[in-house]
Symmetry: C2
């Protein structure tokens, strides 16, 4: 991609109302733009990063036999009356011309449960697991922390269906394992802590995955030896002790909840009378689990964890481009040599951002490149061309390397 074609430009200053680092860098770098509080447009560089995040999530979930669907955003309010969730205060409502009331999906239990009910009749049809990447709508009283708590945001939600609670528990553990692999691949593994949280009415605990960062909205208490944490909300319920080792030596941390896993038991299947028939012909309620992973939140969390004072430092696995080719060439022959190098990289199948913009000083180009944060920078200049080389630098620091043009 030629940077001269890209419609976004980097901004020197972030909007004053954006206090979190992730929002500041993502807006300044041209990854997202705020339409209004809690609602953001994803710009070309952001689309690239999100697609890489989603690719990783999809791969790991397909490995545990989850199937991708794409469910509607418009839900009949009757489904919420059945589950008793038509009164929750974060719902957006809309209406058809005939007066039929609709809910904008903030979660999809009310759609996925009756959908699976159409296809699952017998124990032979279980277990099943379905997931989607969807826009979610939450009528938040206050939107804050940039893309962290949005009124409209992108999320991966997954729902699993089982004969028994023990089979649901087996799958719950598989999802936890898949999530760990996802966080590792997103370079969030170390900073992301499995956290005990309220299980609601149908389970003692649920589990959140909290990424430790000073700008986090949540407070958690970390047990360093178990590498688990307890959400502040339930500290009284666990008597201030780690639920795994009983230790009281817990450290208070700020964190962002990027994912959660819930045991739903028959909370939603009962509401829809969704049962299956066992081998003896007896009917039982189907047992459910649900598993969220905030895609836009994860984007923000990655920036919170991977940045310095100059900008973002993308992990390789999700960087918008594999390399940032920065040309400092101005003379025609040099520009042509830089163009040729770019075309050669593209022909090799390399996904490269090519800073071919004319009229900018080297310092301006490097500042932009630091802000955008592509992990590998390849500098082509009259000086490097004179030596038949390019200069290669890692965004994370270290000494430059000089690579011969023919070796690229």
């Amino acid at each position: 991609m030629r940077q001269s074609i890209l419609f976004t430009k980097t901004l020197k200053e972030a909007p004053k109302d954006e206090v979190s680092k992730n929002a500041q860098f993502l807006i300044r770098g041209g990854f997202v733009d705020k339409l209004f509080a809690g609602v953001y447009s994803i710009l070309p560089l952001g689309v690239k990063v999100l697609s890489h995040i989603e690719h990783i999530v999809r791969e790991e979930l397909c490995r545990i036999d989850a199937q991708e669907v794409f469910l509607p955003a418009l839900h009949p309010v009757e489904n919420y009356q059945k589950t008793g969730r038509d009164g929750i205060d974060v719902l957006f409502f809309t209406e058809m011309h005939d007066g039929k009331r609709l809910v904008l999906g903030q979660s999809h239990e009310e759609v996925v449960t009756p959908l699976l009910q159409k296809y699952v009749q017998s124990y032979k049809d279980l277990p099943k697991s379905v997931f989607q990447f969807q826009t979610k709508f939450r009528n938040e009283l206050r939107a804050k922390s940039g893309i962290m708590r949005g009124r409209e945001f992108r999320m991966k939600d997954m729902y699993s269906f089982h004969e028994t609670q023990s089979d649901a528990d087996r799958y719950y553990a598989l999802v936890e394992d898949a999530y760990r692999k996802i966080f590792d691949r997103l370079a969030l593994g170390e900073a992301t802590i499995k956290t005990y949280a309220s299980g609601g009415t149908f389970s003692k605990y649920s589990h959140e995955f909290q990424t430790i960062t000073s700008s986090g909205e949540d407070t958690i208490y970390l047990c360093e030896s178990c590498r688990v944490a307890i959400n502040k909300e339930i500290m009284a319920d666990v008597n201030g002790q780690c639920p795994e080792c009983g230790s009281r030596a817990l450290e208070e941390k700020k964190a962002i909840e990027i994912a959660n896993i819930f045991k739903l038991a028959d909370r939603f299947t009962n509401a829809f009378s969704f049962t299956y028939t066992d081998q003896e012909g007896k009917k039982h309620p189907v047992i459910m689990g649900c598993y969220g992973l905030g895609i836009t939140r994860t984007l923000g969390a990655i920036v919170e964890v991977h940045h310095d004072e100059k900008g973002i430092i993308w992990p390789e696995s999700i960087a918008p481009y594999a390399a940032h080719l920065v040309s400092l060439c101005t003379e025609r022959a040099d520009v042509e040599a830089a163009d040729e190098l770019y075309h050669r990289l593209v022909a090799q199948g390399k996904d490269v951002l090519y800073d071919d913009r004319a009229g900018l000083r080297a310092g301006e180009k490097f500042a932009d490149s630091d802000l955008i944060g592509i992990p590998k920078r390849v500098i082509v200049s009259p000086k490097t061309l004179a030596n038949n080389t390019v200069e290669v630098r890692q965004r994370s620091g270290g000494e430059p390397e000089y690579v011969s043009l023919s070796a690229i």
Copy 2:
């Protein structure tokens, strides 16, 4: 993908209220499911097809320097007041807790125009083109024809921004060319006709791309020699003549509008006072074009064009899987041989649907396979295994081929 894991099942009968062939086959095959009139869930096989369609569209648009964005679905109503479109009758509205009114996006001029305005100041910043794949919401009085006229549907919309009308016209022709390539790759090229339609207030004509099919909602008049058509709506305006050759020998056809291209001139940029500065420092309104392509509609149109009485016949380019491996094996050694073949194909990177379901007769499996419509069927049975072969059949017909196991 093992078919035994897939949560969907084929249905013998389509719901009675689905009259169009595309809806009948897509529902019976397990590609989509209706939540309520005009609102469908996309199921795993449907997600695969849609992702292939979107991949082709994305590739062709990136070739004409369009940049992918992902814009919000929630729009401030003030933006519609500026363009005077807050009164159009297909809008869904919702409201925040503080009373702020929002529109659910049915098109994105009101969001993309002020977005580009933030980044475009000078002639040097033009031209630009951005596109997205988004869910669109239309408060239709009546939803009909399956996924063809939905209240919620998936669409590719693109917007281009130019210094002059002649530059916008140049890009308009590029998009037309990209669309032709897309339709060819989607096996809709022959059936899809460029159609003159109303240009609205800002242009004499717009152009639609109409796919000829007996179940189409639109009526067009085809000029066979020019391979263009005229939408019935403007037949009086063109005096019943082909606008290209003047012929009156036009044939009436039913068709589905799967895409359209519009010249917007300064209709939307004026509403936002979106100007650019030319080389002499003078300000001019930015000139716009917009280019829609219905993704769920295209899915439906492909099924309308590519089916027989037994089910869908997917074009290879967008088939949910490259091959349908149908096992008729029941004895353990045979089942193991079939499993091994499946694993070998997966290891080769082949995306295969494997009908490993036990307890079904061959006729039932073939009927399902005909309905689902994967272009290549590979049958493995005790008989073929005895000869160390598989039987390969094309969904479109013709004689079976026998291929040795070792050659696969």
